[in-house]
Homo-oligomer: 236 residues x 2
């Protein structure tokens, strides 16, 4: 076999490895997204079995992260990627870090489901559901944008993170008021506060992923600080 | 200049670049640690100016992360590190991700200081202070272990994360009880719950950094799951 034949073969295998890497990241994203979706469903319906399933499946997300990280480190060591290929590796490394946390946050929501059993199932269902659907739509959009390489879609999600923060601020105020008005709500309310916070954090991770996609496609960073509304932490 | 002279020169410059990288990460760690320390002090003394300083200085942590990431990407592209050198780069990339979040969490604690003004300054001061000191000691230990390459110290912190979780669980119960007993506590209590949660998360990041140090020094992963006590989310 001559070098002329061998070289394209190596190049082809490398591009296939990078495609496989991106496919693995997308699959991990799909699993993380399904955990968020199921955790919200479990919280809304107080479904303990569904919640337990989310907790169990988070281990798969963690395993996928470890597997993908190993692949990336091997690619870096053996292939010495530069330019766009290096960005594919760095982007994958960053995105799986965010996705691992999204899985953790879904698990954290699922773990609170038993503690919600005491409270009226319909209380706040609508508000949490609205915020949950919004955050899920952001996750779904950035993961689609990652697969298709559509920076504009990623940037659109990045710009809409304020909507998540507004939902969170409103829910925070609503919950504290409910805890003041009906003291039976104090225990479950504390857990609902964290569920809302977890959703806000999942929205932040979608925003992080949007930034990584922008870097991956363009090689440039998004503005280091988005213009934003009142910070979630300032609401009381 | 002959190649024989030139090659060691290049090698020396590379090892210097890696040393500089580790020094940059350690400096970022020192800044993140000081933000946590100051945020706790601000929360304990209701010091609005100190809190505002923490919020302002978090931007420096973010800037350090961006700067270090750029250096790492340049090193990967130009130097094609393998084995231990590659691990130094990957470890730095992972640690700055954790440190950036630690800065965010310190900022989040600082942002809640104004909302605490309504509450009795001494309430929970002791419990939050104890948990804060514990988490700070973990951060300090892992950052020292990173600088000295002492895996055993890093593993010791990793094994002690349960202590942080126990403090968090106790504080969660204490706060919900106080909110039930004295309804004036409901508003500030919600913020204190998040401060406790933020401290618990900072402890998790110290644990993550410990895992990275173990990988950096040994090339092997720590057990993927620590044996642990009751999960923080299960307490009510």
């Amino acid at each position: 076999m001559t070098n002329q034949v061998k070289a394209p073969h190596i190049v082809k295998a490398f591009s296939e490895e990078l495609e496989q890497l991106s496919a693995d990241v997308a699959a991990m994203g799909g699993l993380a997204e399904s955990l968020v979706s199921d955790a919200l469903e479990a919280a809304a319906t107080r479904d303990g079995d569904l919640a337990a399933g989310v907790v169990a499946r988070d281990a798969q997300v963690d395993a996928m992260q470890r597997d993908i990280e190993k692949k990336i480190i091997r690619l870096l060591a053996l292939r010495h990627p530069i330019a766009q290929d290096l960005r594919v590796c760095i982007a994958a490394l960053k995105i799986v870090t965010d996705l691992e946390r999204v899985g953790d946050l879904a698990k954290s929501i699922a773990r609170r489901v038993p503690a919600l059993n005491d409270s009226e199932p319909t209380a706040f269902a609508a508000s949490v559901d609205r915020m949950g659907k919004l955050v899920l739509s952001h996750m779904h959009e950035v993961l689609d944008a990652y697969v298709t390489g559509e920076t504009a879609r990623a940037v659109a999600v990045w710009e809409r993170d304020d909507d998540v923060d507004e939902h969170y601020n409103a829910l925070f105020r609503e919950l504290v008021r409910a805890m003041r008005d009906d003291h039976v709500m104090i225990g479950p309310g504390a857990h609902l506060l964290f569920i809302a916070k977890n959703l806000e954090r999942i929205g932040d991770h979608a925003t992080n992923i949007a930034e990584v996609i922008h870097y991956l496609v363009t090689g440039r960073e998004l503005a280091s600080e988005r213009p934003r509304g009142p910070r979630p932490e300032q609401s009381a």
